[in-house]
Subunit: 345 residues, 2 copies
């Protein structure tokens, strides 16, 4: 039960028009604007068929038609063509990214900002997940006789640290032994791996003082590892959605904003999504059922994978947004190859 060529044309015209104007589109205006060589009456008949097949809906009897989620899905899968970015946008992107090339987190933040500036939608960018990261070394550094710093360094240069204040003074010697022990024990293992296994193990050969020190350091070690696994989330353009007619009601706007105040939940959701370009439309999202969400991934050093995304109403310019995101992720991956002498944190 495929769609005829003419039906596809009409559907495409309706989508284009509706995405532009956010108003139900009628047969007459289609006939006028896009010359398909047929009269409004014919278009009406086709529209009626398209509605029956679930591609269009009808807010009320005497209104025009609105594309359904199914229509957008069809559009994204088969109708949509890749768009070329304007020279202006390209320059904007390269200017902005190169301005912060050597500061990793700032670059990521700029990427999110670029996305929302160009699309006028809400967007986000996340630093790479460090599931793959392995431990390079662990060090305990003295500050004063009761304060010390626990520092974990990953193989890609990722560092996380915690300051510890002990109840009992420690000796420099204990510190050295413990940090060597820990490094030997964990070097080369992924963070996940260590987190899963660590809590039980306690090397029995330690002397008493060392064991006490170890007892204090361990809980912090685990928490610091967890910290290290956390990705940073940057959001931008949240207030853009206030300009869209679909969020002109306060309730809708509130629901939308509330999604983003739950940062932990949101981060988890986004991490769960598959890599590459992923588009989910309306009902395909288990929450935010009247939004569409597009995510794409960039690479750091070919290994770590970070995500960027755009969130808006189902009525969005899928072609432009996906093309932009593809361009942007390519640029990011390019910037984050480690062959040149840049630096990052």
């Amino acid at each position: 039960m495929d769609l005829s060529e003419r039906q596809l044309q009409i559907l495409q015209a309706i989508i284009t028009d509706y995405v532009e104007n956010a108003e139900p589109v009628g047969s007459r205006s289609i006939a006028k604007k896009y010359d398909l060589g047929v009269s409004p009456a014919t278009i009406r008949n086709e529209m009626s068929d398209l509605e029956e097949m679930g591609y269009l809906t009808h807010p009320h009897t005497s209104a025009g038609r609105v594309p359904s989620d199914k229509a957008y899905r069809l559009y994204v899968n088969t109708l949509m063509k890749k768009k070329n970015l304007s020279a202006m946008d390209k320059r904007l992107i390269s200017d902005r990214l190169s301005a912060s090339r050597d500061e990793f987190d700032r670059t990521i933040r700029h990427a999110a900002e670029l996305l929302s500036e160009i699309t006028h939608l809400a967007s986000f960018a996340m630093t790479p997940a460090t599931n793959e990261e392995t431990i390079d070394f662990i060090r305990l550094l003295p500050v004063d006789e009761r304060t010390l710093i626990l520092m974990i360094v990953g193989d890609s240069g990722n560092v996380t640290n915690t300051t510890l204040r002990l109840k009992v003074p420690y000796t420099q010697e204990d510190l050295d032994i413990l940090s060597k022990n820990m490094t030997v024990q964990h070097k080369g293992r992924t963070l996940d791996d260590v987190l899963k296994s660590e809590i039980i193990e306690d090397v029995g050969t330690d002397i008493e003082a060392l064991s006490a020190l170890r007892g204090t350091v361990m809980p912090s070690f685990i928490r610091t590892l967890e910290d290290m696994l956390n990705v940073n989330l940057y959001m931008a353009g949240m207030t853009n959605i206030f300009n869209l007619p679909e969020y002109s009601s306060i309730d809708r706007a509130r629901d939308f904003m509330e999604l983003f105040t739950q940062r932990d939940w949101f981060t988890r959701k986004m991490l769960e999504r598959a890599n590459g370009m992923v588009v989910t439309i309306g009902d395909e999202n288990d929450s935010m059922k009247d939004c569409s969400l597009i995510t794409a991934t960039y690479h750091v050093d070919g290994k770590l994978v970070g995500k960027i995304g755009v969130i808006g109403p189902t009525r969005m310019k899928y072609d432009e947004v996906t093309s932009l995101m593809e361009y942007l992720t390519n640029n990011l991956s390019e910037a984050f190859r480690l062959t040149d002498g840049g630096e990052d944190s």
Copy 2:
């Protein structure tokens, strides 16, 4: 030209009523709810006088009166009485804060969340400004032959680090010399102080290789210092304001939300405010002219000072909010005294 006792009573009643119901309050309802022993007509006359003096305004001829910024100011300065917190709120606070006692940043975040949960307004909390922090030591740690970690440690155990990737390999020896040099040069100075003076100085006695290394490290050193000065900002309950009638129009709501998307700007603004409990009402704020803003400060180890704040419409329960914030900052300062054996980052 002071206000009479009765005028104060009436003003207080109007404020109380308006804060509660968000609707212009008329003479009759005042006379009924608060028995001041006078008739509505008398109250009308007094209201008229109060309006002339600028304490009340009139949306239109036949509407009730609304308190002006000047009225709230009078209320906050002289009329307002301290409120006792409910036992429930006290328990909520102590439960929540003690749950994360040993993780500094999490505690701060919880403080912001508590504020917005109890007041139903938007709120924020910032980690302490580190203007006063002095440098304890600087260390350069090797990762691999071209990667190293620059680490700056402050006297209160604050740590910041950056990973550097060099174009040319370095030697362990150079690293040690440079980190010793830097430590000697900067130990005991405040971050601000170093930042202001640093860029010019270049100790001339270095050997060539060391000088090259130094040249690479220095820009990152400055940027890392700047990082260290940055405070973390946690916001909570932003979407609460959607429930308030003053933000029932989309435009108002948008303006409000936009304030908080400019995090850097907002942080700077808040840092500029005086320490202690500060209340600014409506026009007293140079931006957000129809909001009121209350900030208060807490102490860490008696030295560093962090801020918490609540933002809402000028119509807010100043007495309850300020009492809550006082209680909360006391609790925070208490939790962050360093005499016990806790840990923080």
